[in-house]
């Protein structure tokens, strides 16, 4: 008999496929358990948000607003990451504004607040209810094993009042109820898990229109910055080849010309000129090596990022410690960017900071390369003071990385850069 079975679509498993259904149920229980964690956190931040709101009403809550907003953002971010693990990825929104008015006007923050309230109440209830079902099943299934240990009064009501449990058949009946609980669990929990996630997916996903527009604008800007950085780099190379190496070689030819003319006149004179010509040729070679190194340091390709950075530290006039732990290599362009960020930062520090020590920390975490360069100099560095920092920002953002400079007057200065590894 031909059957018109529906194609195996993601969704509710077909009823008769017990194993598939069991798997779905276990997944759902896992999700509900995870949801329980974020629901408890949501309850905490909901309560603190309410407290903050009340404190604002009596006029003392404003300083708490950024803290509460950070809490909301943190829990929402955790839920986004959790949901992204078992469904379509949910992209983080732009950083939340820290002011109260701006935050309340920010649609992403308002939706997050709505999610916190929903998840703290309905989400918590769904998790608790969903997780209670299998516990009930276990309790009832094992009931015939331990019912005799119960005081008779308590044991008597174990069948939810359907019958009074006084003997083994009655207890076995309770055991059968356990099967019922399993059926209910299998029937309900997938839906409950989906419902719980639905609110998160609905409220935590970026507003479709605005967010893509923002992302496009951001990409356009970083792309332009990438091309700018590229052009600036080419200009730098051209300049150093032109005004350095080429001039040296021209000087060599000029001196050689002069030497040739001098040979007939005064051989001693010619010898002196040839000496200078050789000096100039050696200078040309040294400069050429410098240019090549500045395009892409060979040690970076031959060895590793840590080795290349150690080389930089050795050449830095300020004592510098490299604390690099990068077991897995990143894409070549990312490593080159990291290298130049550190090189540029060390140059800046040596030039302006009057620091006595520098520490460069490099870590690879979550597919991102994290750089942190800290010096104990006089601080007060900003992007307006020198082009070096702008260059670092451009190079970083060209790779879709993030850049942070913390440099209070009096120091210490910390430059934090994080780059997607691209591998």
């Amino acid at each position: 008999m031909p059957t018109h079975a529906p194609p195996a679509a993601p969704g509710p498993a077909r009823r008769w496929d017990v194993f598939a259904r069991a798997r779905t149920t276990l997944d759902a229980l896992e999700h509900l358990a995870g949801g329980f964690g974020t629901a408890v956190l949501a309850l905490v931040v909901l309560l603190s948000a309410v407290v903050t709101a009340l404190a604002c009403l009596v006029g003392v809550g404003l300083p708490l607003v950024p803290v509460a907003l950070r809490g909301v953002r943190a829990v929402a971010g955790r839920e986004r990451a959790r949901l992204s693990r078992w469904g379509p990825e949910i992209i983080d929104p732009e950083p939340a504004p820290s002011g109260l008015r701006a935050a309340l006007a920010d649609p992403a923050t308002r939706r997050e607040l709505g999610w916190v309230a929903t998840h703290a109440v309905l989400g918590l209830f769904l998790s608790l209810a969903g997780l209670t079902l299998p516990l009930n099943a276990v309790r009832d299934l094992t009931f015939p094993l331990w019912w005799r240990l119960l005081p008779p009064d308590e044991a008597a009501t174990a069948s939810m009042g359907f019958w009074t449990v006084r003997d083994l058949p009655g207890a076995l009946g309770v055991g059968a109820l356990g099967l019922g609980w399993i059926a209910v669990t299998m029937l309900l929990t997938p839906g409950m898990a989906r419902l719980q996630a639905w609110f998160g997916r609905r409220l935590l996903a970026p507003d479709p229109g605005t967010d893509l527009a923002l992302r496009v604008a951001q990409l356009t800007a970083t792309r332009a910055a990438a091309l700018d950085a590229h052009a600036a780099e080419l200009r730098r190379i051209e300049r150093s080849l032109h005004d350095g190496t080429q001039n040296r070689i021209v000087a060599v030819t000029v001196l050689l010309g002069a030497a040739r003319r001098a040979v007939a006149r005064d051989p001693a004179d010619a010898k002196a000129i040839l000496e200078r010509a050789q000096d100039a040729a050696e200078q040309a070679l040294a400069e050429l090596r410098g240019v090549v190194r500045s395009i892409l340091p060979p040690v970076l390709t031959d060895r590793s990022l840590s080795d290349a950075l150690t080389g930089l530290a050795v050449g830095c006039p300020v004592p510098c410690r490299i604390d690099a732990d990068v077991p897995v290599r990143c894409a070549a362009s990312v490593e080159a960017t990291a290298y130049f960020v550190v090189a540029e930062a060390l140059t800046n520090i040596a030039r302006h900071s009057r620091a006595r020590h520098v520490v460069v920390r490099v870590r690879r975490r979550d597919d991102r390369l994290h750089l942190q360069i800290t010096d104990d100099g006089r601080g007060g560095a900003n992007e307006l003071s020198g082009s070096g920092i702008v260059g670092i920002r451009n190079r970083t953002e060209a790779h879709d990385g993030t850049f942070m400079l913390d440099s209070p007057t009096g120091g210490p200065t910390t430059l934090t850069v994080s780059l997607p590894c691209g591998s």
């Binding site: 005004d243 001039n247 000087a251 001196l255 003319r261 004179d269 200078r276 100039a280």
Partner: protein, 219 residues
């Protein structure tokens, strides 16, 4: 011959001065930038200025600007511009007010001392020295129907040397022919290109360069 050198690269500046002094030429001052150069021109009243194109602060065309300004201040000053690479726009800017007492050469030509000194003397004597590369670029970029295709290969050689600023005798030496043969070629070239014939070297250079530039612009 009193010479002022403007070149920002110290090694090259000293090398040039050394070379010229060894040839018993009088290098009266050297300068590392356009301002120092103009001061030196005012102070020493030289016959010839040798000027690098790229100088501080922006390392673009400071040398050209300074050379034009120096000639505005002292119309009789001969200027030989040295450049690390051939940029026809610089040549055009430089030659905008005639080609007399002007030279534009690649830096490395200095190493061929005899030719460099010939060019230097030619410029100091009121002539012109245009780098063969500039002329080659002009010739290469002209459009096919510019009239140049009516020239014979030998006539093209003569035209190129004329554009560099060489006089009839120098052209004859370079091509291993007689003066008379060169004269004949030049008359033929001027006729084919509809240019007014002249024997005065600098006016001839100007005419030829203008012609080549026009031929290029119509491209």
């Amino acid at each position: 011959m009193r010479i002022v050198i403007a070149e920002d690269d110290p090694l090259l500046r000293e090398g040039l001065a050394l070379l010229l002094r060894a040839e018993s030429l009088d290098v009266v001052a050297t300068a590392a930038g356009p301002d120092g150069f103009l001061r030196a021109v005012d102070a020493h009243d030289p016959d010839v200025a040798i000027v690098d194109v790229r100088m501080p602060p922006t390392h673009t065309d400071e040398g050209i600007v300074a050379a034009v300004e120096a000639r505005r201040r002292r119309p009789g000053l001969a200027v030989l511009v040295l450049s690390a690479y051939v940029e026809q726009a610089f040549a055009t800017e430089l030659l905008a007010h005639g080609s007399s007492r002007l030279g534009y050469l690649l830096k490395e030509r200095v190493g061929r001392v005899e030719e460099f000194l010939t060019a230097l003397h030619r410029v100091a004597a009121g002539g012109t020295a245009i780098d063969p590369d500039v002329v080659a670029q002009l010739l290469a970029r002209t459009r096919p129907d510019s009239g140049l295709d009516r020239l014979s290969p030998r006539e093209r050689d003569v035209l190129a040397l004329m554009a560099e600023g060489l006089g009839n005798t120098a052209i004859a030496d370079r091509l291993f022919v007689t003066d008379g043969a060169v004269h004949k070629h030049i008359r033929s070239i001027f006729a084919k290109l509809d240019l007014a014939p002249t024997d005065q070297a600098d006016r001839r250079v100007t005419a030829v360069l203008r012609y080549l530039e026009d031929a290029q612009r119509r491209w």
